[in-house]
Symmetry: C2
Subunit: 310 residues, 2 copies
């Protein structure tokens, strides 16, 4: 099955305790697409400037990702600059240059209209809605957001939440969105806002999913939550894109399966953790460019052994 992802395709300048990179390929849609491409067909809707060349295109094409929906506009691509020096868990943004992204108006190519799964990466909820409306018949809609939209663009975000089957969100954001300090209460409140499931990402500590049972096509799950661990890494070289890679692994695996059962959902959480952990091993998209499906499955097995009793 195919996933359409809409979001940023960007250049990132990154400083971490392990070194730095200037204008390396990044963006939420990029990281999502690369991770999801290990599981299923992926199509990208985004916008880039004239600095996006054959070199960057090749990174997508090498993974078989369809980039017909990446619009080429006049100007520079979105450029984010950030530093993790001092705290690997949270980037300090040094600059954000929206450039061509400022006037981004997502256009879904005709050839993408038959996409089965839709992923709304972290962009303006108004744009997320616009893409959602161009694909009214997808099998499932999954999305991400961030503090900026929660605080300043609440009304549009609430409309998006009504469209989502699964919301991916981090610890702080779920509390902010619900206005509640307790994670479980916050997740329960957000489930009432529309999504059938919420995956709360805890960074290095993994992720916890909370769900309404009716999300599943078949099968039942006695409890209303599920936890997948993070993979402790000896070297977190660059965490940029780890959350998007988690989303790509999670949703890519779901899209590769015939039906959404509790077991598929759980495996998807593990694949999310696997892809997030690989992302951190090198700068930007570097690790995804050399990663193999065999490595992915070996780490999945390690995750399983690390967290299962039997």
């Amino acid at each position: 099955m195919s996933i359409l992802v809409v979001g940023s395709v960007a250049f990132d300048s990154i400083q971490t305790p392990h070194g730095s990179r200037e204008k390396c390929l990044g963006g939420a849609a990029t990281h999502f697409a690369l991770a999801a491409s290990f599981f299923t067909d992926v199509r990208v809707v985004g916008v880039v400037g004239s600095d996006f060349t054959e070199k960057e295109e090749a990174v997508f094409k090498h993974r078989g990702i369809d980039i017909e929906g990446i619009e080429h506009a006049h100007g520079h691509s979105f450029h984010w600059s950030g530093s993790y020096v001092g705290d690997l868990n949270e980037a300090k943004t040094l600059s954000t240059d929206l450039n061509v992204f400022e006037k981004f108006n997502p256009k879904v190519p005709k050839s993408y209209l038959n996409s089965d799964y839709l992923f709304l990466a972290n962009i303006d909820p108004v744009l997320q809605l616009r893409v959602r409306r161009q694909l009214p018949d997808v099998k499932m809609v999954c999305g991400d957001t961030m503090n900026y939209w929660i605080n300043g663009h609440r009304a549009a975000l609430e409309e998006v939440l009504l469209e989502l089957d699964v919301l991916l969100i981090n610890d702080k954001e779920v509390r902010m969105l619900a206005g509640l300090d307790n994670m479980m209460r916050a997740a329960t409140r957000v489930l009432e806002m529309g999504p059938e499931a919420i995956v709360v990402k805890h960074g290095e500590y993994g992720a916890t999913a909370f769900f309404n049972r009716k999300i599943f096509d078949t099968g039942r799950h006695a409890s209303a939550m599920f936890h997948a661990p993070g993979m402790p890494l000896t070297d977190v070289v660059d965490p940029t894109g780890a959350g998007d890679s988690f989303a790509g692994g999670f949703y890519g695996y779901i899209a590769s399966q015939p039906a959404l059962t509790p077991e598929v959902f759980k495996r998807a959480m593990f694949y999310g953790g696997v892809m997030g952990s690989f992302c951190c091993e090198q700068f930007g998209t570097e690790r995804m460019q050399t990663l193999t499906r065999e490595e992915v499955d070996a780490r999945f097995a390690a995750f399983e052994e690390m967290s299962h009793i039997g």
Copy 2:
């Protein structure tokens, strides 16, 4: 099998967003003993003042805990006062009155000398060593420590580490002890200091164990780590003692088993999480006083379902 625990038996005055308690029964040895008592025989070495009455004794006796080793000294018991208002994850200490604990010199009763397992709760490493030397032939030694001893009493603590089979420690402390920011590197370094295994506690996010394979009596575990989740709670009423309750569940379960296999170690981690989560549901020792083994096993099953794919 029997566990001897040495540590504080105290009164705590606690403020949390859910209310407050004045001088309720607490202390690391108390919380450990209550949690462990659901799995095995427990004996306590500690010191209390004249404010420790039949009422407090009854809490231990109700759980079948042997308190012959609790010395009654002239004066007041150790009293800690702390607040979690504003941050449920870390207590703000308002006052610490050592009282009779200041001159605590642990004496192991003769009837305790045949104890099979030793737990050195978080006290001065000099005292931990003194107790360890009175029980040279125990099957296993497990211990806890904290930032205060890591920073100011390093030499004695390093002697303790050489005696330990398992060190229980939290995220921040393992990094402090190793002088390394990365959790996995820090754990690996601390394993070189003596313990055969380290259980790093992540608070609400569960715990990760790192171990040398030779710790096991039988059986093998392909990877060198294991993760157990925390149980998301709708109400964290009072986290005081959660780490000690984790230790009690963890070690109590190990002591109840004929041999330490990888599976027993993993189950022990889950029982640790179970007991830690129950502890947080009410103030002080209140939840442990009404808890039943049936409730413990039901939550263990919920933990397992929450974290296992199959």
